[in-house]
Point group: C2
Chain length 228, copies 2
Amino acid sequence: MNVRPLTKTSNERSDATRRRLIDAGMELFGVNGFDATTTRALADAAGANLAAIPYHFGGKDGLYRAVAQAVIDGLNDQMGSFLDSVQREMDAGVGSPHQAMALIERLMADFAEVVLQRPEADNWVCFVMREQMQPTEAFSILYDSPIKRMRDLFSKLLSHVSGLEPDHVRIKLTGIELLGLVYVFRVARASTLREMGWQTINEAAYAEVRTVILESTRLILRGLQAKN
Amino acid sequence: MNVRPLTKTSNERSDATRRRLIDAGMELFGVNGFDATTTRALADAAGANLAAIPYHFGGKDGLYRAVAQAVIDGLNDQMGSFLDSVQREMDAGVGSPHQAMALIERLMADFAEVVLQRPEADNWVCFVMREQMQPTEAFSILYDSPIKRMRDLFSKLLSHVSGLEPDHVRIKLTGIELLGLVYVFRVARASTLREMGWQTINEAAYAEVRTVILESTRLILRGLQAKN
DNA sequence: GTCTATAGTCGGATAGAC
DNA sequence: GTCTATCCGACTATAGAC
């Protein structure tokens, strides 16, 4: 009775179907939103059967939650290493405001890369933004994300730069402001492309955007430091 | 044959119904998106009949387009006067970078007020953001908005500050960056509230946010000027 | 111009065969 | 575990009375 291989094969097929449905969900939910995305479209895009959605996820909502979790997992993959890296350097001790500023600039550059350049971003950014504007129960899953980790790092680093406490209102708001410097180019992408006369944010365009983001970051940081 | 009063009454009722449907559409489309908003919900919210939608607007899509136009009209009402005011001062001649910076700061403060404090903003901001992420044919209506006018004013003023041409890539991107300083608090509002431990952006909270926005604005402007 | 009733369409979930 | 066939509910738009 060789039941293992059968089970294993079964599980593998099952997992593959789950994964394909989640991939399809990330794209379709992100682009069109929950309601505009039909289970039929999801099943077609995943090459799966319609009934596989209620079967594997309990329904359309369940798939949606699974996608939210997958977004977090993906963000961890993409941001985990550089967040860890900065964390380690911080733990080793931040000697000077200058060093804190350098770490923030590194975080900003890496974050901009993930948000503006990685092709996967097209899917999850839309997904996250929808949740920001109209949070569903999946918002909690998304909130405890690497982005929160990043905000926390910002707070500590900005504290070193400014001399204020990490949980000072101004510090936290400035951290959000920094993220906004990156977000705006993704969220208002349609307007940005039109305004700049670009068809897409290609490499040259991204270089310009990145320069402006880092320049603005530096100016804000220097200003914070000067107030000491 | 006193036909005028009858016609007038008729038109008035008609216009009132149209207006109520547009108001309902601004709220419901903005919050829930096109697909999640049913004609029944629209009719109920407007206190109008279901059939009034196809009758007045040709269908759900027509109402959506009418809402987009109403968003622009509303923005013109709210931003027109301060945009005109700044425009007039610019036409009178911008003497110094310092004066240009003061005008930009005024624009930012007024814009922040409209985006973050006016209760009407809850409706149109979501509506506009949806169009940014997934533009429909209504995007063109929205693009030619007071916000474009504002970007253009920014370009000219930033040109005065920096000495660069108004259509220089860096200038235009910096203008977008400035808008992002305001947008982020509205778009990432859910995260902001959670991060700050606020229930709502009340007056005290807004004062803090406004301070940070204007502070960041000033720092970016000074940095631009310093490069001269 | 507005309302009621209804036609026609489509989406989500399930039952049951394989 | 997966697929087919089907049900039920909800939605948009229209026809026709008022």
